[in-house]
């Protein structure tokens, strides 16, 4: 076959291929109006192993296993659905405090600079498409380790571990418009992250410096921890109260301060012994030290 003839066939086939895509989009997907069907709604009316998480009021329970995540209704106990993990691993799971939804982060073992992590919404009764945010082109072994969100502003910040020894993190942001962007911070050794309830403002700490920052949605930022000592972030509660731990030279917390932006910080409590900041909680019921 002559090469000019081959080229003509290729061009013609390509033209038809592209035209068919545009035709489908134009006439079906983006048609001004589409035909619809109306139908009545039909109401869809164990031994546990694995890590379990309870929703608010304990109405639902999630069991994270190696191969799947199972969602149960607790009263009466019944398996609502099982979500296969497809060889991915769960790095974060949390039920939201005020609604029966959970956020789950998964990661896979992938090659260098091609890792992908996904934060997904889990709805106990919805087994179809799941709302999610995917961060790709990450260093191998990356995973989401913490999530800060506000159900008032619908902003979600994701802390992604991108390297071990010493641990290095990145932070990504998504919102109601499903814009996903990387948030560039003053360092990569990030401790905990938090977000103000009614403003798009990320609170984070730089562990290397012992300084806590606020970074606003418009990109502006400033230091919020008091000067003269090193502080780590403990958390931010639903009333925008920020909890900071004052740490000693060994990096262990000795006192906890609480306060608000533009108001200042005051002593909340003195710890009975120097404590790793990872085990501090905002309400003072310190999590037990893991061995």
């Amino acid at each position: 076959m002559k090469s000019s003839y081959k080229l003509a066939i290729w061009l013609l086939a390509g033209l038809l291929f592209q035209a068919s895509i545009y035709f489908y989009l134009d006439r079906v997907l983006f048609a001004p109006a589409t035909s619809f069907q109306v139908s009545a709604v039909t109401e869809a009316r164990a031994v546990i192993d694995g890590q379990t998480y309870y929703s608010r009021n304990k109405r639902y329970m999630a069991v994270v296993k190696d191969e799947s995540v199972e969602i149960y209704a607790t009263s009466p106990k019944s398996l609502l659905r099982s979500i296969p993990l497809n060889q991915q691993k769960v790095s974060y799971f949390k039920w939201l405090e005020d609604r029966d939804l959970a956020l789950m982060a998964v990661y896979g073992d992938t090659a260098k600079d091609a890792a992908k992590v996904v934060l997904t919404q889990i709805n106990p009764y919805s087994d179809g498409y799941r709302l999610s945010a995917t961060i790709d082109k990450l260093p191998g072994g990356s995973k989401i380790t913490d999530v800060a969100y506000s159900t008032a502003t619908n902003v979600i910040y994701m802390q992604v571990l991108v390297a071990n020894g010493p641990a290095q993190y990145r932070v990504y942001r998504t919102d109601a418009n499903q814009d996903l962007t990387r948030v560039y911070l003053s360092g990569s050794r990030i401790g905990r992250i938090g977000v103000l309830f009614d403003q798009d403002s990320l609170i984070y700490d730089n562990l290397a410096e012992g300084i806590v920052y606020v970074r606003n949605g418009d990109g502006s930022w400033r230091v919020i921890s008091p000067y003269g000592a090193k502080y780590n972030l403990v958390g931010v509660d639903g009333k925008n109260t920020i909890y900071l731990a004052k740490v000693n030279a060994q990096g262990l917390a000795e006192t906890v301060f609480k306060g608000k932006l533009k108001v200042g910080f005051e002593l909340d409590r003195t710890l009975t012994k120097p404590t790793d900041v990872r085990f501090l909680t905002m309400d003072g019921t310190e999590a037990p030290v893991k061995k």
Partner: protein, 317 residues
Amino acid sequence: MTKLAIASNIYFRFIVINLVFLLCTAPLIVLFGPFDNIKRSVVGAVLTSRHPQYVTWIFSEKEIKEIVGDFNPTNQPKQDLFQFTKRETSSLRLVNINATRFTGYMLEIPDPTLIKAATAQDIQEKGDTISSIAIANNAVAAVNAGGFYDPNGTGTGRLPYGVIINEGKFLIGGDINEQVQLIGVTKAGVLVAGNYSPKEMREMNVSEGVSFGPPLIINGKKLITDGDGGWGVAPRTAIGQRKDGTVLFLVIDGRQPGYSLGATLLDVQNILYEQGAYVAANLDGGSSTTLYFNGKVVNRPSDMLGERMIPTAFIVK
């Protein structure tokens, strides 16, 4: 190499080359090509996004009007406040709405006098979710209603605009001296949609209302007759009323490829018209779109955190 392997290789290269070419040429073909529906959807979606300047840089106002259609909701006919005899039944009925590009729900409420405009408990501080508003008001059903200022899409639902009317009293907007958008229900149970001044609203005996729009059906006539409404494809909420008084709450899910992309205003108008609406109007949509019924949210809000906090809802109690 076998013939099959060679053919696969050629096929793969063909697809890849074409997709690359498609991606490179798509902006030009979408904006300046012959595919009017794609162009209208893209331009409409960008115009209602946070970055409308991307379109206004490229097209003049006249060209934009030609692309998205000449739908001017301010030129609506005067609404006829019709009378009806209430239906005997009092049971609410929920139905599925399915189409190629969207999935949604419609709730029929036979008695329109059960519709109230409810607000978040602490509206000056923050909004509430539809579930919270419904539970706080002992409502059997609720749908998101009025608009609010939403800077960068991170608003907390505490800044409603226009009017909010509850039991005949203006919670906000009673002192406005010009016409504002209204979607409301009169004391007699007639759905009202359009631009009215608070004085006119009082004269019409509007007892429940919020501000949003545009109206889609007035006096049994469709208002969008050219184009798709100009707002592109997105999650939608709307309200309508049949001539027998039955109120229709409609929600269409969107922004969830594989489940539901969303609907145009024309889709919403057509659904409500075919379901018998004599009056209908669009309510706040996007990630606010939420329908609560019988103790739970029945649709799938498009935000990963679930229901958005919003200032107002139409509830059934």
